[in-house]
Assembly symmetry: D2
Homo-oligomer: 216 residues x 4
């Protein structure tokens, strides 16, 4: 995509956000991969909505793109695993272990084996390295602090963490400019041009009524 | 939202579709509630993605808005229930019955009781009215034919079923028009104007290099 | 079995009970079908051990032997069903409905349909006839009072509810009598006969040592 | 229990077996702990009825009585675990691991860790030591061959593996002997004594009818 095309996406993001089309904003952030909304990411992680967290990330990186990405996905899935264990749901924990964490065993077999052993403890806090694990809320906060560092260090997220500075409603402004441009081509310009639609170019014709111009 | 604002959403929908930001398209359709994409709806229903089907519909109507809407949600949930029964998952079926279908019992208690009784049959096709139920694929098709009629008849969907006719890339066209308008305000217009950004208005200034104009 | 054979089973039941072989006692009661231990039955029903309750009953009657038996099994399974509903386990409840209660639908279809409907209530006490249902403990007591009446009225249990009057350790007494009988056939009876075994007949022979006679 | 009391239990076991009170036979074997029925044990193990297998064993030994017993229980539970894994039921496998196998971790932590790791394999046959594991049927046979050796070597089962040699219906014979003994005490012995009951001693009295003597 050309850089102006890319900028258009940002204008749309601003518009969608101003119109409170919240889900659309994040879905476009993810599908375009142009802007990583750290605030949204933290919100979802704090809420434990792991499917959405991974889905959102997938717009920017795959698990094995580089070691930062690997660690990011690993930390998320490890947290998901520990939470299942903490709620005594071994059934769910073993599924996470096999479906989500096994992928990392080729990179660090020892660690994966240690993580597997946690299944057999009454409380994984018996493991020395997890002895300081508090409750879910605090654990997610600690995980997020780590994830933020990893994302900020990850080359794939460079330049995607700061939303460009824009005047309010920039897209609307440009649309109004285009209407102005259309009107100035009118052979018989009316003082109050009748803008009916954006779908086709405006043209002032004699029989038009005097409807107040409604800027976008 | 003013009608031009509404039209801008359609231009954005077209843009997102052209750029293949598929999920964003449908999320915006749902959040704005301006256009109901029947093709997408049918696709999700055929795939049995009931959560998304109901989520998409929720952008246009609630269960009890009118009798068409009630019947639409009822038919979807009834299909979900029958599919659970058909795959011998009584556990899932009874959850659907209580969570999704019970809401309709106040409107038609007899029907709800009949539906409840299906749980106890070896094969719900023993029930006379369901004796012609074929397989999942055909049942979903039959359900969709019914849903299409209900949606087309439902006042809440009036005027939302046809996407307006637009020239290709209408939004890009308008953006280019706005750039033209910006440029014509330049005091010292260059022959090949240097459009650097959409984020702030263009201005030709003497020391600008000759970068090829990249229309959007 | 001849009546003396039958009596021998009672002597064995008494012996097993005196020796505290508790499970063997009840298994023999069930397999012979000679004596229905009401106290044991109540104990198991109070404990909600439904599998054992039905297994024990099966030594005396099948579900459809007569209307008393049908009602006995029906009341037990209905209680099992209500307890599953009361602990919010609809999954378990619907399995009980289909596996255990459906058999009764041919005899009383209306009742079976009513029972099925209970699945859809937030609390089955909303049903008028179950409004007085207290907690599990009291419900089981009320059920047991009903079951006792049905068992006492059921012809299949006639004469099986009262354990015959026996002197303590009657079987041991008879064994000792048989040893006396064996000894009196001895050609050279010793004053203190050496009873080595029950497995083969005793016989006093000169070289036997003077081991104290150990009556059984 | 005196040795004659013990022998009486064997006579009862023979009687119950002759009368085909099968469950009572094995329950008495287990509760008395006098005779370990290898044939029955193999039958239950072949059928994968693990609860009954462990229940039956519990009449003879506890898990940690000696190293033979430990290995016996370990092999059974390991087989149960492997079967759960083989049927893709990781949920069940992890429960067996924690409830049944964890007890052995204090004795062999390395082995327990290895067994835990099997949860993460697609097919536990990927583990070198289990590569020869065939199907359930053959695995159970191999396990049983091992269990038989362990039981035969286990001091707690010494002298309990062979049922004593008895003439058929030895208990009935002794009962008949006791009736003979009772009759010979009769002051006015009838030629065909009337044996009414085993519950109280027989006595020939003048007004007795001539019912054919029914030996037990
Ligand atoms: Zn004009
Ligand atoms: Zn310019
Ligand atoms: Zn003698
Ligand atoms: Zn006599």
């Amino acid at each position: 995509m050309s850089s102006l095309s890319r900028e258009l996406v940002f204008l749309i993001l601003q518009f969608l956000d101003e119109e409170k089309f919240k889900e659309s904003v994040h879905r476009l952030e993810q599908e375009s991969g142009f802007f990583f909304n750290m605030k949204y990411f933290e919100e979802k992680a704090h809420a434990g909505e792991w499917d959405e967290v991974e889905k959102y990330l997938s717009g920017f990186t795959k698990v094995d793109d580089n070691r930062y990405s690997m660690k990011i996905f690993f930390e998320i899935r490890k947290q998901k695993y520990l939470e299942a264990l903490d709620s005594q749901d071994r059934s769910k924990a073993v599924e996470i272990l096999v479906k989500d964490l096994k992928a990392f065993s080729t990179f660090n077999e020892e660690l994966f084996k240690e993580i597997t052993q946690l299944l057999t403890l009454d409380n994984f806090r018996e493991n020395e390295q997890l002895s300081k694990y508090g409750d879910t809320k605090s654990a997610r906060s600690i995980m997020l602090m780590e994830l933020k560092k990893l994302i900020e260090a990850n080359p794939l997220f460079r330049d995607k963490l700061v939303f460009p500075t824009l005047k309010t409603s920039r897209l609307r402004t440009l649309i109004n400019q285009s209407l102005n441009w259309q009107h100035q081509l009118c052979k018989n310009p009316r003082q109050n041009p009748d803008i009916k639609t954006l779908f086709s170019d405006h043209s002032c014709t004699p029989p038009n009524g005097a409807r107040a111009p409604t800027p976008v």
